[in-house]
Symmetry: C2
Subunit: 204 residues, 2 copies
DNA sequence: AAACTTATACTGAACGGACGGTATATGTGT
DNA sequence: ACACATATACCGTCCGTTCAGTATAAGTTT
């Protein structure tokens, strides 16, 4: 019943398998949707049996929280690393977007689950952390845009809408991104930033 | 059991109430998610009783299909109206985006349901129509961008990614759009196009 | 216009099945 | 021997659906 082993020797294997279960669940949740996924589906995806599965999770809901929990943390830490270095807003924006898209690409299923279930999970215990982390990251982006506006390098009519456009573009990416496709995350990031900064109109 | 009346006198009222049921369902599906929505929730949302609800729908699944079905048709017709008039690619792009965002704003719940359930509904009977209509609309947008590239008015590094950025921005809009908010659909459309065309970088 | 017949709108209880979760048994490695 | 991993069978509950029945409005006959 989801009891982590006390023996240090077995701890590592347990955590590794648990992570495999979470990742497998992320993919199934993303493809079928959380509520439409039955325990039977999770069994099929993990290769375990009913009892074995419950050895690694307290319940289906906790598995969902595990999928979205700690999803934003690595990205937030990376973002703060980037912002710690003093740079022009444009450079900050480009590096943030690149780190963000690399994260999206490597956690594609988790991101889709987040988008799909964010509404059904509002006001759920443990959910507020995820939402706060998300809001925090968006605030960091907003700050960069605002800083660019203040120092004169950006001049959007509506700062808020600029952020929303960027959020929309990146958050939509998991829907079509193909790891074996033509474009990698860093190329996508570069071109998003190119378009957001200079637009697609030909220079006249 | 969801049998439309044959008598012409009652047909109108039936269709009106059925539409109310579908719209109410759209909102509940959007907020809670389709699978997480119980018949009890639908009863509460519609004001009907269990049996009464089944008078207007053959089943829960059909109700979901009704929500997304015929969602794209009005937009597609409007798009073809716009494209029938000979105009410059930029004008076409701006008008398409505006019509699109007006549609998104007035069918916000339906759109959220579509985004949330598109994966769970793949390879479902009746679903291919919706997907085809969606693909058709995206193709119309892609054609406009391509026409702009050919005649020299647009010059994006990657035509496909320009489309995906626009799709992301607009498809993300229902997630934050507030009908009583500061910005209406036409203003949002204008500023999206401003940013996509000219970027947010200050003129130097 | 009154009486009658049928189509339609709605009710509420009950059913059948699926689903998440648990208890218990049996290996398996330390 | 003990902790841990996995297997199997089972339970209670919830949920989508059905159905027999009632009330009312629409159409028809007299």
């Amino acid at each position: 019943m989801a009891t982590p082993p006390t023996r240090p020797a077995l701890r590592a294997r347990y955590e590794r398998r648990r992570q495999e279960v979470v990742d497998a669940a992320a993919k199934v949740f993303a493809l079928r949707g959380y509520h439409a996924t039955s325990i039977e589906d999770l069994i099929e995806a993990t290769g375990l049996t009913r009892g074995g599965l419950y050895h690694y999770m307290p319940g289906k809901r906790d598995l969902l929280l595990a999928v979205v929990d700690e999803l934003m943390d690595p990205l937030l830490r990376r973002a703060e690393e980037i912002l710690a270095l003093p740079q022009a807003p444009e450079a900050h924006l480009r590096e943030l977007t690149q780190a963000w898209l690399e994260h999206v690409a490597s956690h594609r299923w988790h991101m889709i689950v987040f988008s799909q279930e964010r509404r059904t999970l509002e006001q759920e215990p443990g959910w507020s952390d995820v939402r706060d982390a998300r809001a925090h990251f968006e605030q960091l982006l907003a700050d960069v845009l605002e800083r660019g506006r203040r120092d004169g390098s950006f001049s959007m009519r509506d700062p808020q809408l600029g952020l929303l456009m960027l959020l929309g573009s990146v958050n939509y990416t998991p829907q079509w991104y193909d790891p074996s496709g033509r474009l990698g995350p860093e190329e996508i990031a570069t071109r998003y930033c190119d378009m957001l900064l200079d637009g697609i109109r030909s220079a006249r």
